[in-house]
Amino acid sequence: MTPDPITDSVLARHGVTRDEYDRIVGMLGREPNLTELGIFSVMWSEHCSYKSSRVHLKTLPTTGPRVLQGPGENAGAVDIGDGLAAVFKIESHNHPSFIEPYQGAATGVGGIIRDIFTMGARPIALLNSLRFGPLDEALVRRTMSGVVSGIGGYGNSIGIPTVGGEIGFDRSYTGNPLVNVFCLGIARADEIIKGTASGVGNAVYYVGAKTGRDGIHGATMASAEFDDTLNEKRPAVQVGDPFMEKLLLEACLEVMKTDALVGIQDMGAAGLTCSTCEMGSRGGAGVEIDVSRVPQRETGMTPYEIMLSESQERMLLVVKKGREAEVEQIFDKWDLHAVHIGEVTSDGRLRVKNHGEVVADIPNRALTDEAPMYRRPVSKPAYLESAQQLDIAQFGPPPSPRDVFRRLLASPGIASKRWVYRQYDHMVRTNTLLLPGMGAAAVRVKGTSRGLAMSVDCNGRFVYLDPYLGAQLAVAEASRNVACAGGLPIGATNCLNFGNPEKPEIMWQFGRAVEGMGAACRALDIPITGGNVSLYNETDGRGVLPTPVIGVVGLIEHADRVVGRAFRSEGDVVVLLGETRNELGGSEFLHVVHDQIRGVPPQLDLAREAALQRLLVEGARAGVIRSAHDCAEGGVAVTLAECCFDTALGIDVNLVAVTEAPAEYRDVAPLFSESASRVVVSVAPGQAATLLSMAAAAGVPAKQIGQVRGHRIAIAVEGRPGINELVSDAERIWATAIESWFEQRRAIA
């Protein structure tokens, strides 16, 4: 090995600090060469090492009777009965999606799919959680268009339905959109496969696309803020090939049916480097490869480039010695080349050779478990105290409820996302029980009577105003959505999107949000089985709203009893579960009417939330509840309207005034307050008493508020008229709001 000069500028280019460098020298007992430094730099990047977040993540609840696989593998897994496991994870692809929206989003989808099938599971559902800036900016529309078609382009082609998700809009995301993709697959519980290299002499195989120079230092890019050098970063974004991934998916699942496989891992962030050292580290083994055997799509690639490339659709396999031909034959059937690039060794080291000459030699654990871990300084942000002050009366008398209602329906955060989800194949695999836009996503599990409900949620405004409570509210909302569909929440995965962790105020937000998320998951008995952290979501020094997205998976005992949000028939009784308080802090009302993110988020009583969710699951299982829809952004008024839209049924409802609100808001708060732990349900007329007594027994406040009737959305407060709109008029506003931003543009072009 010829020593390369490691100067300060070389270190800076690799995002390695002088302290970290000294640590590397200590671990190796010598200076690293440039290839080794490159390998350390990607493995010790924030993206791969979680060096700022690990101390906090360790506090999350990750175990439970159903948990088959917690954090640390490619994805988590929970037992869903019938000998089956749900394998799922959420991951971000924020930075690449801003630089190159289509490919950034597409490869995000590809990456998470690989994480799932790597575990031996067949992926059956995709969801996504997206955040963009306001749609009146052309740049935002371009980004959103690209992201949506990228997600569709990949998922549609590979044939995994995108069954749901959520989209939020806020100025802070203009230069830093969030693209979080969730994937769920089904595996036999006793056939889950791990990313482990073991068995000295076993063969290490490289399968899939050839290695190119794309994506070199992608992980390092995802660990830095954006500035005006953005365009120079485009070569760090990879290009996706869903067809190649489809071949890999089918071939790998076929190989897994044999017992010739020891372990498998996809080459995602940090490519060949990450997959080799992580597999070795997990198995307590060493891995030796020769990069000259790696299939290359460009000429003259150096070992440094080959090890750091993030070319997509590549897998690393460890195959039992003597079984190589069997495995090669399966890949050959799918026209894929499986190339033998190395062996498992006993010395616990990652040894990289080039035509036999050693070019890197590093202990695996130095790259993984022994990577730096920082307890970064935290300090309570200065903005909080003033942002939490809200005197609603200072804004003067509220506009008419009708006016607010219409503006809320047209607000992109609330408006129909049909323009988006109709670009996604959401029905392939024929399991989709609830179409997108109908509440939680729900799919059946073929071969069983069960179904799975899934929801991804986070209200960044709430987290901004109180990270601890906001993160709890996110968990409550996601699990409540799942419970509305009749799913018992059994597991979760998180994707924590924050700004620059080197800023103590951001780190304080992060720490408090993780604490809140952990507390809520413990109270609701939902283990977090894995996830992803995305930091440095800043552009020119401005961070995004802190956005800890949570994806919750719920088990539906009887798939044919899944509950959607739409009212079902005329005459059904409408019941509001939960209590409405004067809680407009951080609301869509304040955002839309006064352009403010202000106040404290709604209170949350986790015991009461748990009781509500149990009631929803029980009510669905018993066949009592005919529709259920969570009250979130826009309050009861928007919730009721959304329940009317799919079936064009009207309602006649009377709400109770909120007496604790200032005089002018007593009739407004019942409509638009965003109090937590509330759900609008409908039941057949003969079942109202049953539901009310079930609620009383469960300790859940419940009030019959009206009936499904006619073609108008008629909502009164204590008999005083509030909102009265034709369903069709309201629906038109809601259905066309997002679409019109894009169609309008096309008309001009």
Partner: protein
């Protein structure tokens, strides 16, 4: 009856189609790999939806060269019923088993949604059990479903009653709003002159169970079964039993 579902490497509705044949209809079904040279003596061949070879070039353009397509052509030439759904339709066009071509949707976007199609002709193996003018609620999911044919070809298709399915409004009107992709004459599906080869863009296999939103697609599959009963001695067929109907919610 025995269904052969052809599997191209990028097929992604193969399992869905197989599920309908096997679990919903209770019939025999085989998945046939595209590199195979034998179809295995089926009664009906289905080319399923998907992205046969990634379709980066042109949908179905490479699939026509797959070895199994020679067998499919022979089977069709002998009068065997062949149906291409979505990508399968695109493959049939590229293989010359049906006339015309597919262009990119006029929205330039992929479209996935339930919509309505009208059964225009009932004298094919795939519409035999339908009423003429019957309206089916079926999903579509495609980016290239904008059917195009030269004016003389289009005129011949209409004259020969080869247009089998048309996109319509819920009330059955052939309108521009009901046309999701810009297809000429709102064409959703056609047959060949011999009427045994049918291609359509909507997905009947995604609409065979009420649990997933619609069972209208059963009209197509029940037609195949009826065709089978009328073509062969009934005893030789696996009959659709009451138990297979209860599989609906599985």
């Amino acid at each position: 009856m025995k269904f052969a579902v052809v599997v191209f490497p990028g097929s992604n509705c193969d399992h869905d189609t197989y599920h309908v044949a096997k679990d919903v209809l209770g019939q025999e079904a085989d998945l046939i790999w595209h590199k195979d040279m034998r179809l295995g003596r089926p009664d009906v061949v289905i080319l399923p939806g998907g992205f046969a070879h990634g379709d980066y070039l042109r949908t179905g353009a490479i699939a026509r060269f797959s070895p199994i397509m020679q067998e499919v052509s022979k089977f069709a030439a002998a009068g065997g019923p062949v149906i291409g759904i979505c990508n399968g339709f695109q493959v049939l066009l590229e293989a010359g088993l049906l006339p015309g071509a597919m262009l990119r949707n006029r929205s330039l976007q992929f479209r996935c949604e339930f919509l309505h199609v009208k059964v225009e002709q009932t004298d094919t193996p795939f519409t035999l059990a339908s009423r003429a003018g019957q309206i089916l609620r079926l999903p579509i999911a495609h980016g290239d479903g904008n059917y195009y044919a030269e004016p003389d070809v289009l005129a011949r298709l209409e004259r020969n009653r080869q247009v089998i399915f048309r996109y319509v409004s819920a009330s059955g009107d052939v309108t521009d709003e009901a046309n999701p992709n810009g297809s000429l004459n709102n064409i959703a599906g056609i047959c060949n002159e011999a009427r045994n080869v049918v291609g359509l863009m909507p997905h009947p296999e995604r609409a065979c169970e009420l649990a997933i939103g619609s069972a209208d697609g059963m009209a197509v599959f029940e037609s195949i079964l009826k065709w089978g009963r009328e073509s062969f001695n009934e005893d030789t067929l696996t009959t659709m039993t009451a138990s297979s109907a209860t599989v609906l919610n599985k």
